[in-house]
């Protein structure tokens, strides 16, 4: 395939032209600013090559926020198109198909997942009293695979054309016959590249949590967010290989005429659907369990109580992780499998609501008689409980196979998964970001603006999605680009669009708040911004020193830091400083991932030479790494002592 240049770069679409110009202007702007302020070296040394879990976490979060803007603009365009019957806004079905495909894919793969991984990176090593993750080099590599995978996916809309077969990419719709052009290839290779990083992160975090906990932190004393991270990572390790294999098979179908999922030559299109959801359902738990963990942390902190039913919480998430591998067929009940199959998966799906319910009651019991403080993270956590429950209850409705024949692929389903994904995952991401913001940047986000953001977003969310349940019951199918006045869907759709704009505005306000607070809010002077209970708040300074703890704290209880405060123990009262072993910086992962991008780009267009160049580059980087010695470096006890003394002095000055 040799596309002419005017097919290569998409032309003649006003929105895409606007996008192209925006990309060009932003790129030039970034290059200009970096050069003008001589920041290239800083960027390379301090961020791009960093093995520091906190910085990697911050990069994940910033990249996810940027991706959220991209996918959010997609959402606004879809809602505008659907605001009224026969809207001419997006012109034609093709354009709409591309937008809902990129919206869904980006939100799940490049927003929800990496956002949570970013928060895990920031918080988990601190919570378990470790100095970094087990494999800091791999951690950096994971970030860059995600980043370059996301870039490969994102350039599709200006170069070559966006994928348009939905985020689930069902075959045969996603095959060469029905999805011509390179769009779907971008999907396959972008997800493949970033999937490698997600899998590596899973392995990294399991190893970290199992091997690197502070002395005295038994499994049953781990903070709840660490628990959910551990279980989530296990689900990642179990499920992401399925995606990898399925994507590879579809790639072979599209690039080299294999027949795994084709209609002819004995392929099985439904096998793609099967494999996709074998990964896809565990994936939805990958993005909800960490959010559960975040809310547990926030609720205990701001209710100033120990988590109610800690042990049952642990068993609930463990049960969810096992069950999450046993329900995937509920996404395609309508395939028409026999009654045994559909009944089995109906029941297993309903069963998963039980441990979820246990968790809800545990949170409520934790709140009961707590001395609640209504800070912004807590308000998000309180908003989560009722809103998420609506999503869970409608999930159980969908779980009845017979009824699902009615609901499937209608707006009822769309509303269900937005209620769980937004009220669960996205509320969790926001709450966690606000909660750990002082850990990342040494300053809290402004509370007044924060409350405004919450109320606007939460009300906007309900205005957007609650009407969609009724649209679904009224028969409106998902993934349609327009409808007729006779359908009678106008008023609810219009309402939904109004809500969407409210959410969009709230998001802009949130980003503004980040800027505003950085400029004007008071700096934190201690490591304990909220009166926290877990070890991440026990660091000597607001932003932890790069070695996290001068001396690894010893854990004697659940809520380790809270217990220290009760007993008047100062975790930073170190008598004798010790040498600290820290990982080295490396530019290898960045370079390797650029080659992944290049190779992937070559494959998208069937340009084998470029593909081979990419593969060779990846290999070269791997070999370079495999045969070089890198045992990290030692920060001497003297340097640690000096740094701690400086921190103390700074705090004394601040406190006057």
């Amino acid at each position: 395939m040799d596309p002419a240049w005017d097919e290569f770069i998409i032309t003649g679409e006003p929105f895409i032209l606007a996008g192209q110009i925006a990309i060009l202007v932003t790129t030039i702007g970034i290059i200009f600013i970096l050069t003008y302020f001589k920041k290239w070296k800083w960027l390379w040394n301090e961020w791009i090559t960093t093995p520091d879990h906190r910085k990697i976490g911050i990069m994940y979060i910033i990249a996810s926020l940027l991706m959220m803007i991209r996918a959010g603009v997609d959402a606004m365009m879809m809602r505008t198109q659907l605001a009224a019957p026969n809207m001419p806004f997006l012109g034609e079905a093709q354009h709409y198909n591309e937008i809902f495909t990129t919206h869904g894919t980006i939100m799940i793969i490049f927003v929800a997942t990496p956002f949570l991984i970013g928060l895990m990176n920031v918080a988990v090593p601190l919570q378990i009293g470790a100095r970094d993750v087990a494999f800091p080099f791999v951690n950096n590599l994971s970030f860059w695979t995600f980043f370059w995978g996301a870039m490969l996916f994102n350039i599709s809309f200006v170069i070559g054309g966006a994928p348009d077969a939905g985020w689930s990419a069902y075959m045969p719709l996603a095959s060469n016959d029905l999805s011509m052009g390179p769009g779907q290839n971008f999907y396959l290779l972008g997800l493949q590249i970033s999937g490698i990083g997600t899998l590596a992160t899973g392995i990294n975090l399991v190893t970290t949590i199992i091997k690197m906990r502070a002395k005295g932190m038994t499994l049953m004393r781990m903070p709840m967010f660490t628990w959910t991270t551990l279980i989530t990572s296990l689900i990642i390790i179990g499920s992401f290989p399925i995606l990898t294999v399925a994507l590879a098979m579809q790639t072979f179908d599209r690039l080299w005429d294999a027949a795994f999922f084709t209609l002819q030559d004995g392929g099985m299109p439904m096998m793609w659907v099967n494999l996709f959801w074998l990964w896809g359902h565990p994936e939805v738990y990958i993005v909800i369990l960490p959010a559960f963990g975040i809310f547990s942390e926030i609720i205990t902190t701001f209710a100033r109580k120990r988590l109610f039913g800690y042990t049952s919480m642990v068993f609930a998430i463990a049960a969810i992780s096992g069950l999450s591998f046993l329900v995937w067929v509920h996404h395609f009940f309508t395939m028409g499998a026999g009654p045994m199959v559909n009944s089995f998966f109906s029941i297993s799906t309903m069963a998963i609501a039980v441990p979820t319910g246990v968790k809800i009651f545990n949170w409520l019991a934790t709140l009961h008689r707590g001395r609640i403080r209504f800070n912004v993270p807590m308000v998000w956590a309180l908003g989560f409980i009722p809103n998420f429950t609506i999503g869970g209850v409608t999930g159980v409705m969908l779980a009845m196979a017979a009824a699902d024949y009615q609901y499937h692929n209608t707006y009822f389903l769309v509303s269900h998964f937005h209620y769980v994904l937004i009220a669960g995952t996205i509320f969790g991401c926001f709450a966690g970001t606000i909660y750990w913001w002082p850990k990342m940047f040494g300053v809290k986000l402004n509370e007044r603006l924060g409350h405004w953001v919450f109320w606007l977003f939460m009300i906007g969310f309900n205005v957007t999605f609650f009407p969609q349940y009724f649209l679904g019951l009224d028969g409106m199918p998902r993934r349609i680009y327009t409808y007729f006045p006779e359908d009678g869907w106008f008023s609810l759709n219009f309402l939904s669009t109004v809500g969407a704009y409210m959410m969009g505005f709230a998001f802009v306000l949130l980003v503004y708040n980040m800027y505003y607070s950085y400029r004007y809010e008071k700096r934190e002077t201690s490591g304990d911004a909220w009166g926290g209970r877990t070890l991440e708040w026990a660091t000597s300074s607001a932003i932890p020193p790069h070695y996290n703890f001068a001396q690894i704290p010893e854990v004697k209880d659940q809520d380790a830091f809270w217990q220290m405060k009760q007993e008047g123990v100062d975790p930073n009262g170190v008598e004798e400083y010790q040498d600290v072993h820290m990982p080295n910086h490396s530019g290898n992962p960045f370079v390797m991932c650029v080659f992944m991008f290049i190779g992937g780009f070559g494959l998208v267009f069937h340009w084998w030479t470029i593909g081979i160049i990419g593969a060779l580059g990846i290999f070269a980087c791997m070999i370079q790494r495999s045969f070089s010695r890198d045992d990290g470096h030692i920060v001497s006890a003297e340097e640690v002592r000096k740094e701690e003394a400086e921190i103390r002095e700074g705090q004394a000055n601040e406190n006057g």
Binding site: N274, V341, H581, P583, R629
Partner: protein
């Protein structure tokens, strides 16, 4: 930090990894050859490539995953059980579901 890999820590050439890598490739090529060019019956081919796959899996567990090196047996057993659970669900589950839970030959 456990930044150095097991191989570099001992300061030796990473023989285990190289051997594991090369033998995995060889085993795959052998399987490919058997499937494409050998004259065995279909049943024999299937048995052969399945055996080769299991050998390769075991090899990788030993060479790359440090199966035999852990000090904590319980966690190791837990991981293996979990992986077995997922593998069985994926393989048998897909088979059952894609058969539609009924034997199509009898119904069509």
């Amino acid at each position: 930090m456990s930044n150095g890999t097991a191989a570099t820590k001992k300061g030796h050439f990473p023989w285990k990894h190289v051997v594991g890598f090369i033998s995995s490739i060889v085993l795959t090529l052998v399987a490919l050859w058997i499937a494409f060019y050998s004259a065995f019956s279909v049943r024999t081919i299937i048995v052969l490539i399945f055996s080769l796959a299991f050998i390769q899996a075991a090899l990788q567990l030993l060479m790359f995953m440090h199966m035999a090196e852990s000090s904590n047996g319980r966690i190791q057993v837990g991981h293996i059980l979990f992986s077995a659970f997922v593998a069985i669900v994926v393989a048998l589950g897909s088979y059952w579901v894609m058969e539609f839970g009924i034997h199509l030959e009898h119904h069509m």
